[in-house]
């Protein structure tokens, strides 16, 4: 396998040109030229069944439509402001873009990165137009007791989450400007450890019921709806217990030293599962011991995700597992870096899906 690959870029247009030259004969070419020469007539929604529009394209001259996202209004005409598909609900007309920044919706399971701490809240980068907001009241506090948040908690927000930390959370509500309020008030949400982060385009992630999956090979993945993915070692309950004992003690010590007198839940006996699992350990920065095998599996899954996003194939867990199986046929994990192999993984995947029907 070569160490370096340098290739000349291929413009996408030339590929298409060659393709069309093969398929079309002369007369069709003439038709195409006629089409260009003729002044395009104005098209109206409801009459034309074409539903893909480009920015600036006239959608309708009918003023009775309500204008939704992705449209603008000029001289009683409605135009598209993005490239995408027209969607109509009753009299509401909107254009859903093919690509673009992630737009949060209530209930989305997402992965974010803390970028700042301000008054009782964390600012979380989501890949959206605005940073999301995670209120102090919307996290599980260490100790697990459900209680009011005190001034003391406010002072030690950095002990819970600090800049750069990754967390998985859910969109609690959205504001009118498109920013999101988040929460992690469930045991499946919280700080992320033991793994690797990868960003893909959010439009590639298929929305499903569940976004956290255990994959073959002892690895789990969170496919955030916003395109942020986290691949990590599957939590092992038996192992967790052992680690919990050491991890808990350690992190409590650290927390105690950083803030004297903070004692809620520290060293106390836990009664419920919530209490047990939301000890300081859930905010620990220490990774578990991860074997080289698991690490390789993680990086193979990562390469598969990169390959899927390179081929612009929508990503769900079934495809990812399939891509993983295909990638095993290409041998060593570092061969997956090359673009040809990424492409052929994508092609193999599409072919195998066609075969299944």
């Amino acid at each position: 396998m070569s160490i370096i690959s340098i290739t000349t870029p291929v413009s996408k247009n030339s590929e298409i040109e060659n393709f069309s030259k093969d398929d079309e004969d002369e007369s069709m070419y003439d038709d195409a030229i006629d089409g260009v020469l003729k002044k395009p007539e104005k098209k109206y929604i409801g009459i034309d069944n074409r539903s893909i529009v480009t920015p600036g394209e006239l959608i309708t001259e009918d003023a009775t439509w309500m204008r939704g996202h992705g449209t603008y209004y000029l001289d009683e005409h409605t135009y598209s402001s993005v490239a995408g598909m027209i969607s109509k609900v009753n009299k509401l007309l909107s254009v859903t873009p093919f690509k673009g920044r992630y737009r949060p919706e209530t209930g989305d399971h997402i992965v974010g990165r803390v970028i700042g701490i301000s008054n009782k809240r964390w600012k979380v980068e989501l890949g959206a137009e605005h940073a999301g907001v995670l209120m102090l009241g919307a996290v599980n506090l260490p100790g697990g007791v459900l209680r009011r948040k005190s001034d003391n908690d406010e002072l030690q927000m950095r002990a819970i989450l600090k800049e750069g930390d990754l967390l998985n959370c859910e969109v609690q509500s959205t504001f009118s400007d498109g920013s999101a309020s988040l929460h992690t008030r469930s045991l499946k949400y919280g700080k992320l450890r033991n793994g690797m982060f990868l960003k893909v385009n959010s439009s590639l992630i298929v929305r499903t019921k569940n976004h956290m999956h255990d994959l073959p090979g002892g690895v789990s993945i969170i496919l955030g709806v916003n395109g942020y993915c986290w691949i990590f070692k599957t939590k092992n309950n038996v192992e967790n217990k052992i680690n919990a004992a050491t991890g808990k003690a350690e992190s409590e010590m650290k927390a105690a030293s950083s803030s004297k007198g903070y004692s809620v839940g520290m060293g106390s006996l836990s009664i419920t599962r919530l209490e047990e699992e939301s000890s300081w350990e859930i905010y620990s920065d220490k990774n578990d011991i991860i074997s080289a095998n698991i690490k390789e599996t993680i990086s193979r899954y990562r390469s598969c995700l990169v390959a899927l996003s390179f081929c612009e194939i929508a990503i769900d867990v079934k495809r990812l597992v399939k891509a993983y199986e295909i990638s095993l046929g290409y041998g060593d994990v570092n061969s997956l870096v090359s673009e040809d192999i990424k492409k052929s993984i994508g092609e193999d995947l599409i072919n195998s899906e066609k075969m299944r029907g």
């Binding site: 160490i3 340098i6 870029p9 220490k286």
Partner: protein, 294 residues
């Protein structure tokens, strides 16, 4: 890009383990796939465009001018322009001197000699068109783009063509200005392609060091956890100066062990041949249409 503690610990542990594995699953000696082509700027003698998958893009051009001088040190002029960075920052100046000096050391100035009095003077302009957003407001220094810049310069020089001289070469006693043939078909390459008189302009390699592991072409995530960086220059099939230690990021710097410098030089020796071959293949491809590049 700020990484979380757990994330950077994971990457660091994978790098320093006995079987180092990199976040993007490359081998320690493996480069990211690059895209490049050259000779596409119609109004320059040689040009190149090179970019890597994270979007860092570098365009270089070589222009030649005839001057009457025999001061060899000012025959090569380098100017680097980095997107979003002022020209007079220490970084730009440092990169400029580094590239210029390394070229001066490796250049065969006979290729620039026209007549007894006249020389070609080269103006090498380098422009970094885009840097990933993560570069800004974080602990990264820009030194990792040095490797891309030097590859761009190499390609531009390799593709540079000079017009054919039609006047007399020996003008020591006659007062005559050199004249050139109008025909570009008879122009010759600045760096001759035959094996006897050819030479390699210097190529700068960036090596990252973490623990006892040395890696070539560190990615942004890796730079965040690397303890040190070394730049090693390679020209005419051997390692030359400058060999310098560079801080690739300010987040996790530590002192460097001397044996790791030796190790990174070995690493460069391993990969240099392949890199040169790959670059030469690109520079020898002919471009018939100028807009094919984009």
């Amino acid at each position: 890009m700020v990484l979380s503690v757990a994330e950077s610990a994971f990457i660091y542990d994978s790098l320093v383990s006995s079987h180092p594995s990199r976040p993007d699953s490359r081998k320690p000696t493996q480069y990211r796939p690059l895209k490049a082509n050259c000779g596409f700027l119609p109004n320059s003698n040689g040009s190149s465009r090179i970019y890597n998958p994270d979007g860092t893009e570098c365009i270089s051009s070589v222009k030649a001018k005839v001057i009457r001088s025999n001061n060899i040190s000012d025959l090569i002029n380098v100017e680097i322009n980095i997107f979003g960075e002022k020209d007079n920052t220490t970084l730009c100046q440092h990169l400029t001197t580094l590239i210029k000096e390394s070229l001066n050391d490796s250049f065969d100035f006979n290729a620039l000699k026209l007549t007894d009095k006249y020389y070609f003077q080269l103006y090498i302009d380098i422009s970094i068109l885009y840097l990933p957003e993560d570069f800004r407001y974080s602990s990264y220094t820009f030194y990792s783009i040095l490797s891309l810049i030097s590859m761009g310069v190499y390609l531009a020089l390799k593709s540079a063509k000079l017009p054919l001289l039609v006047s007399d070469k020996k003008d020591f006693e006659v007062e005559e200005e050199p004249t050139f043939s109008d025909d570009w078909e008879v122009s010759s390459y600045l760096i001759p392609r035959d094996s006897i008189s050819t030479f390699q302009p210097a190529l700068v390699f960036i090596v990252g060091i973490a623990g006892n592991t040395v890696i070539i072409d560190p990615s942004l995530e890796e730079e965040h956890v690397l303890e040190h960086g070394v730049c090693v220059t390679w020209s005419n099939s051997k390692i030359t100066t400058p060999i310098q230690s560079l801080a690739l990021s300010t987040s996790n710097n530590k002192a460097i062990k001397p044996n790791l410098v030796i190790k990174s030089m070995d690493l460069v020796e391993q990969v240099a041949g392949d890199v040169i071959n790959a670059l030469n293949t690109i520079s020898e491809q002919e471009i018939d249409e100028f807009d094919v590049v984009f």
